[in-house]
């Protein structure tokens, strides 16, 4: 059997969060075609569509609360609305797309996959990211990419204060202004290789922007080791 399956409708005005997530987890692949779901009336509830571990196409119509799409593995989730704190936190693979704005800590600790935010993201976007790629069509708030370890954060608008504070090896691309750079975060050269990599991310996210108009930021690697310059004074 091939081709797309007819979408299953789930109305959260009738069913609760637990029964939704259980239904999503129990939906067995049907002859190889990934299941499709349309989820209505999320009403800002928490932890919708979390813990997916197989390919599926999920669409949520409305605004969601905390941790939507958390721990996602392989599924593709589209939120037709705003997302509360921690959207796609700890994502492993697959994708989450927010058509509206995202609250703080979007993509926190994510290890893989692609998070696209078509609006703005607020503070701490990509905090402690560990391999996830995040593309924000709008702007991000303060302390974004705090302690970011791996992956890419692409910001088509502006970044707030203290971008990339205590960053490890994540790569940050910002097109607009940066409020300020956090500790140990510096601007770095944008090579042809980086332009190509960024072009790929923008294309994957379906966001139109000229990769050459971005600047790159990353770690100065001065916090990796303890400095003993003043050890004699103690």
């Amino acid at each position: 059997m091939s081709g797309a399956r007819a979408p299953v409708e789930f109305d959260l005005a009738v069913g609760d969060t637990r029964s939704l997530n259980r239904s999503l987890h129990d939906a067995a692949p049907d002859g190889g075609a990934p299941p499709r779901w349309r989820i209505r009336n999320p009403g800002g509830r928490h932890a919708l569509c979390v813990g997916m571990d197989a390919e599926a196409a999920l669409e949520v119509f409305g605004h969601v609360g905390y941790y939507c799409g958390g721990m996602n593995q392989a599924a593709h989730i589209v939120i037709h609305g705003n997302a509360g704190p921690g959207v796609a936190e700890n994502m492993m693979s697959g994708s989450v797309r927010v058509k509206g704005d995202a609250s703080q800590s979007a993509g926190a600790s994510g290890r893989g996959g692609l998070l696209v935010i078509e609006g703005n993201a607020s503070a701490r976007c990509g905090i402690s990211m560990k391999g996830i790629d995040i593309v924000v069509a709008g702007s991000v708030g303060h302390m974004s990419a705090f302690m970011a370890q791996a992956g890419h954060l692409v910001v088509c608008g502006d970044a707030g204060a203290d971008l990339g504070d205590s960053i490890y090896e994540a790569v940050l691309f910002v097109r607009g202004s940066v409020g300020s750079l956090g500790a140990d975060c510096i601007e770095k050269e944008m090579t042809d290789g980086h332009v190509e990599r960024l072009g790929g991310l923008l294309a994957a996210a379906g966001v139109e922007a000229d990769a050459r108009s971005f600047r790159r930021y990353g770690s100065a690697r001065r916090l990796y080791h303890f400095h003993v310059d003043r050890a004699d004074e103690y």
């Binding site: 009403g43 800002g44 509830r45 509360g84 609250s103």
Partner: protein, 301 residues
């Protein structure tokens, strides 16, 4: 944690339904604050020059009718009485300051929860859902209301430590977060003549605004000064006789969502509290920016 809700009826047609609309908002955030809950309603102003006092007594058999008679003798005119569970609101012809002095002098067994000409404030220990039913919040009308569900971190779980806090005439404040410099500020504000009933950090924030407004600040100015002088984590919602404002600290760990339609402005810790409001699906919705004051009405407060 804690939960905050606020609702400001721009359309006068919503005013009779204010309690019916704000009560489910409070109940929805019950799991953010199961220790206690309260709402300050702004409604039915006293006649010009008169006042409204909401006071509390633990004894369910407290003789509020006798209190009304005594207050009527003091003012020489009729006194309105509305009893709600452990609280009662008395409306009389005395100016607010005189009425407050009378309560403090003649009835020290009562705790005055709010004073002014428009505010009524009801708060209690218990699950928000139970508190809503006990006070009959769903039946209360008004122009605007601020509510709070509390998960205590800084001080005891009692009725008097519950939010909202009112420390000045017709002013009230609710808070999600914790303040770290409240002891020093409380001492300074006491020296400036601001009275406090508890050791709670949020009451200090309310007292701080009372002091700034008394010194002549507009509500926005008072909140901007609070941004400099209050240390800690906070999302505040503040109400005055005719105004409503929201402020988050610059670090902005504590959540907040604002929504506005032609008919209302709503504020809540989370969108799920706003979702059931009529027209929420068409509302403009945004997260208030860190350190920025948002205000509706109350320009003269």
């Amino acid at each position: 944690m804690c939960g905050i809700v606020g609702l400001y009826a721009k359309n006068p047609e919503l005013r009779p339904r204010l309690g019916e609309l704000v009560s489910p908002m409070l109940v929805e955030l019950g799991d953010r604050g199961p220790d206690s809950a309260g709402i300050a309603f702004y409604r039915r102003p006293a006649e010009r020059g008169g006042s409204k006092i909401t006071s509390h007594h633990e004894d369910p058999g407290y003789d509020w009718a006798a209190l009304r008679t005594a207050l009527a003798a003091e003012c020489g005119s009729d006194v309105g009485l509305e009893v709600r569970a452990s609280h009662a609101t008395l409306t009389c012809g005395l100016p607010p300051e005189r009425a407050e002095r009378w309560f403090a002098g003649q009835h020290p067994e009562l705790r005055v929860m709010s004073a002014g000409d428009t505010i009524e404030l009801y708060k209690e220990k218990g699950l928000p859902e139970e508190v809503v039913s006990r006070f009959g919040f769903r039946e209360i009308d008004g122009t605007h209301a601020l509510g709070h569900t509390r998960m205590a971190t800084e001080s005891a779980v009692t009725t008097e430590h519950s939010h909202p806090f009112s420390t000045g005439l017709d002013l009230c404040l609710v808070h999600n977060g914790s303040l770290s410099n409240h002891n020093r500020l409380r001492r300074e504000l006491r020296r400036r003549g601001v009275a406090f009933q508890t050791d709670n950090d949020t009451e200090v924030a309310a007292g701080y605004l009372t002091w700034r407004l008394r010194e002549g600040d507009a509500l926005d100015e008072a909140l901007e000064a609070a941004n400099d002088d209050l240390d800690g984590f906070y999302t505040f919602a503040v109400a005055t006789r005719d105004g409503f404002a929201v402020l988050r600290d610059p670090i902005a760990c504590k959540p907040a969502v604002l929504a506005e339609t032609e008919d209302w402005v709503a504020m809540a810790s989370e969108f799920r509290a706003i979702a059931p409001l009529p027209g929420a699906d068409r509302a403009e919705i945004w997260e208030p920016a860190p350190g920025r004051v948002y205000r509706w009405g109350g320009a003269s407060s």
